[in-house]
Every structure is written in structure tokens, then in C-alpha cells.
């Protein structure tokens, strides 16, 4: 099977890992909403993007769980930007999710016999 990133299956897979993807982006430094969106969009070569509305729901969930925290940055031309910062708990969850993903990927690879 030829995989393209635009596949509904790939899109579903990506969506299922939105939390981990956002945490991963924030590991490199504090970002505001559109920066996070842009980083994800550019990382997939623009071929796929997670809807911004989905991302806002993700930020709220991550903040509620204490995995990220937010703060208002300085005034810009359009107003104040809300920045997100990953917490220590967020880093721990990120590492755990990445390990879980690697394990799952290996299992699926071997089940689908594409791994070797």
C-alpha cells in the first residue's frame, strides 16, 4: 500500500497524537497558538494540517491537565499573544507517549510484516 500523508487513515492517526505533537513542539521553547499551528503545518510539508480549532481544544485540555501553562506576552500590533509553556509533567508525559508510540509502531510493523 502506498501511503500518502493525505490519507484519511494517516489524518486519523495524526489527530490521535495531537497532544503529543503539541508537547513536542513546545519542547523547543514557548510558542503562541499560530506558531504551534505553523510549526506542525511546515513539519508535514504543508501536505497535512491539524485544524486550528482542534489545537485550541488541545491547549485547553493540556492546560487543565497541568501539562502546559499559558501566559500573555507583550503587546503586538494585533493585541496580546497567549503563549504556552511545557511543564515538567508535560515533558514526562511526552517521553512516555513517545515510548508508547515506538512500541506500538514496532508491533504494527511486525504484524503487517513491513518491519523487516
Amino acid at each position: 500500500m502506498t501511503e500518502t500523508i493525505g490519507d484519511p487513515l494517516a489524518a486519523d492517526l495524526l489527530r490521535g497524537h495531537t497532544d503529543t505533537i503539541v508537547l513536542s513542539v513546545l519542547r523547543d521553547g514557548d510558542r503562541y497558538g499560530f506558531e504551534i499551528f505553523k510549526t506542525i503545518r511546515d513539519a508535514t510539508g504543508g501536505a497535512h494540517e491539524i485544524k486550528e480549532a482542534t489545537l485550541y481544544a488541545t491547549y485547553r485540555r493540556l492546560e487543565k491537565d497541568g501539562l502546559v501553562e499559558s501566559y500573555w506576552g507583550d503587546e503586538t500590533q494585533g493585541g496580546r499573544r497567549k503563549y504556552y509553556r511545557i511543564t515538567d509533567a508535560g515533558r514526562a508525559v511526552y517521553r512516555r507517549n513517545v515510548a508508547a508510540w515506538h512500541a506500538t509502531r514496532d508491533i504494527i510493523d511486525s504484524l503487517l510484516q513491513t518491519g523487516k
Binding site: Y32, G33, F34, E35, F37, K38, K51, E52, A53, T54, Y56, A57, R60, E63, K64, E69, S70, Y71, W72, T76, Q77, G78, G79, R80, R81, K82
Partner: protein, 306 residues
Amino acid sequence: MTSTSIHRLLDEAFAGAAPSPAIQDLKEELRTNLAARVDELEASGLGADAAARRAFDELGDVRALIADAGDDPMPAWDRERVRVSPAFVIRATLVPIAAAAALAVGVLAACGVIGGGIGLAVGLFAVVAVLIGVLVADSLGQDTRAHYAMPGGRATGYGIGAALTIAAAGGFALCWTGGPLWLWIVAAGILLLAGVGLLAGLGATQTNRAKPWVREYSAQWTKEFERSHGEAWERPVGDRFSRDPNAAARFGIYTMIIWILASIAGVIIGFNVGWWWAGLAWVGGFVAMMLLLTRMLFIPPKDGER
């Protein structure tokens, strides 16, 4: 250049949503992110209105987002919880220790217990004042409510006010060390005037009028009034102090400050020029108080002020 369209589109999307802090935060967050996307689209050659429309459409289901923010699964106390900043804790611990050490050495130098003389004492008192000012500004600049910290300039102003006042206390303390008495009194008096004046000005202008959710609430309230009454809302006429207790309280504070400053000026003039002339300071204080009363009681407030 950001199109004004995103503001209109946002207003339309948020029409009818309760103006709670959570909703207001979401609207502000969307606004700046939309502005960034519009800039990007305009840079790629799209017209201002088309860019705004496209950026807004790309957002996805904004209604669901608003409903979600309105539900606010996070308890209010948790949203408002102040997160500890380790760097601030370290600064708040080390700065007072340094200030106390500088003060102790400064006092020893002023008393002649250690060498260095008055010059060292003056230098160290200045260091103490600056350190306390830094501590005040740093503390006020911390994010303490609803993610809207005190603006940096205002926090710094409080810090400078505190530093000037502490420096004035140091100046008065030096009066007991000998040396030119008039110099210490005049220097300390000027520092105290500047410090108290600055702190009073900052205190009297401390409001949340500029916070986004207050502005939004005010605009919505006015709109609602016009809709239900069929006429534009106008500020009720009458005595300002009975209508606005905050203005009356501010006038009280200003008056107290004017008399404190007039008294200090009177003492300084008395010592340096002669006690017959000291009364001029009180006359000046009375004139200043009457001018302030006229200005605060009868001048109509600015547009948009509530």
C-alpha cells in the same frame, strides 16, 4: 497591515457569548493568531478582506470552541492559580539579603566603626534603595491574576517610587552623622517628594479599565442599554463625588499628600530661609487643594471612561 475584518468576523462569531474572562481570553487569543495568519496570507499576495475571510474559515468550528470555553471545565480557582516561578523565588530571597547586608555595612560606615566614611555610607544607602526598588518592581510584575500581569512600566514606576522613598530615609538618617545638615535635609526632602509623588500618582491611577474583558463588558453593556432603551447611554449628571466614590477617595488621598508635601516644604523653607516664609508653603498647599477640587468635581470625565 492587519485588516479590520478579523475584528468584525470575531465580533460576529462571539455575539451572544457571555463576556466571561474565559471567553474574553479565547477571543483575544484568536485575534492575535488570526492577525498573524492574515499577515502571512497578505504577504503571499492575497487582498486584506480575502485574507481575513480565509484565515477565519481555516480556524474550523469556532462555535464549538466558544461553547467549550463557556463550559470551562477548569474550575475558576484553578484558572486563576498563580504558578510559582523558581527564578522569582531566588531573586526574592537573595535581593533582601543583599539589601540588609548593604544597610548594615552602610550604618557601620556612617557611625565610623569601619573606614570609608560618609561617602561609602551614601553609596551603600543608594544600593539599598535600588535593591528594594528592584524587589518591589519584580514582585508587582509577577503574574498574579487571570494571566494579566501589571504592565512592566507601571511595576518599574512603583519600584522607582519605593527606591526614592528608601533613599530619602537614608538621607534623613545621615543627619545624625555630622557633616552639612542642610544638604542631607534638602536631598532627603527632594527624594521624599519625588518618591511619594510618584507612588501617589501610580496609586491614584491604578484601575482595570484597560483590561480587555472590562472594555468588552463595557462595550456590550452600552450596546445592550441602547438596544433596550432606544437611546444612547449618557453618563448621569450630578455631583461627581456622590456618583463615583472612587473619585472621592482619590481626592482624599491627593489632599493628604498635598498637605504632607506642604508641611515638608514648610519645614525646609523654615530651616533655610526663615520661619516667617514657611507659611507660604501652606498657602501653596491650600491653593493646590482648591484647584484639585475644582478639577475633580466639575470637569466632565473623558469619553469612554466609566
